[in-house]
């Protein structure tokens, strides 16, 4: 029995296995946003009808900002959740959609067919998406009434997470 080989071998193998086992539990898709706890980047965009919407004008109430696109399957799935939430929090929170790498036309058709839960703002050069560090659609940012990012949801927005966060802000 060669003690050195055993000890050195186990010193390499055991931590490796432990880290792999821990690594398993991370979701490779969720990346903690550095914006959480910080003021959300300002934006001023226009909606489908050309009306300007600026973040500054929305403050005073919590704001839900959702980056989405018509080519994104998850966005279609989460659409009813957002519709429902926008209805429940009407007058208490703002819901704003920012179009992520999509054209106005498909967006317009989508909204006409499935209903809107808030304005769909056009971000043609992804300027706002970059400022928010969007990795893909959908991503949802929940802001308090002062415009501070409280929470970021990557992927499909969860009803409980959304309502719990909003309730805690109201």
């Amino acid at each position: 029995m060669n003690r050195v080989v055993l000890v050195v071998g186990l010193l390499i193998v055991v931590p490796l296995l432990i880290f792999l086992a821990i690594g398993f539990r991370f979701d490779p898709r969720t990346i903690e946003s550095p914006l959480v706890g910080k003021p959300a980047p300002e934006f001023s965009l226009v909606d489908l009808d050309g009306r300007p919407v600026a973040l500054d004008d929305l403050l005073g109430r919590p704001v839900v900002i959702n980056f989405w696109a018509t080519w994104c399957q998850t966005c279609i799935v989460e659409h009813p959740i957002l519709l429902q939430a926008a209805r429940s929090y009407e007058g208490r929170a703002h819901f704003v959609g920012i179009v992520y790498q999509d054209e106005p036309e498909p967006i317009r058709r989508f909204v006409e067919r499935r209903g809107a839960w808030g304005p769909s703002l056009l971000d043609p050069s992804s300027r706002v998406a970059i400022a928010y560090g969007v990795y893909g659609a959908p991503e949802t940012f929940i802001l308090d009434s002062e415009g501070r990012v409280v929470r970021k949801v990557t992927g499909m927005v969860d009803w409980d997470v959304l309502t719990e966060t909003l309730d805690s802000l109201l």
Partner: protein, 163 residues
Amino acid sequence: MVLAILVASLGPAAGQGVIEERDRVLLGEPAGRPLAGEELRQATEAVTSLMRCPVCQGLSVADSHTPSAIAMKAKAEALLAAGYSSAQVLIYFESSYGEFIRLEPRPEGFNLVVWILPGVALLIGLGLVWMRIRRRPAAPREAEKPEEDLEAYRRRVREEIGR
């Protein structure tokens, strides 16, 4: 803030290549000098090759031509053109995308592990090789030197011919 709104409301065409109020708040004064032309192109290429394209599989922003990467390239170019340094550009993107955006872990704190460990392994390996070499039996016998040359030569001939 007013300036930002003004600039943004000019519409999509004005969106790219513009330094906003927020960028100044975030980054402070430009640490480099404004770049232009070929120099700007090269600096943009260099800094975006250090950034991960957010929607790709392990590609850099420089290598990718997805819409996201193109937009990020434009932003990086605008910052460099305004005189911000490459380090500041990286800080800018890191402040919204997180450390994940850097393709090279920042060499500080715990991240030093990934930078230092390979070197440590190489040194340990060199040590082991050295020990092996040193362990050889007594030094060459000076008196037999010529004969040894002959022997080495014979051995080489044997190797080359027959094996």
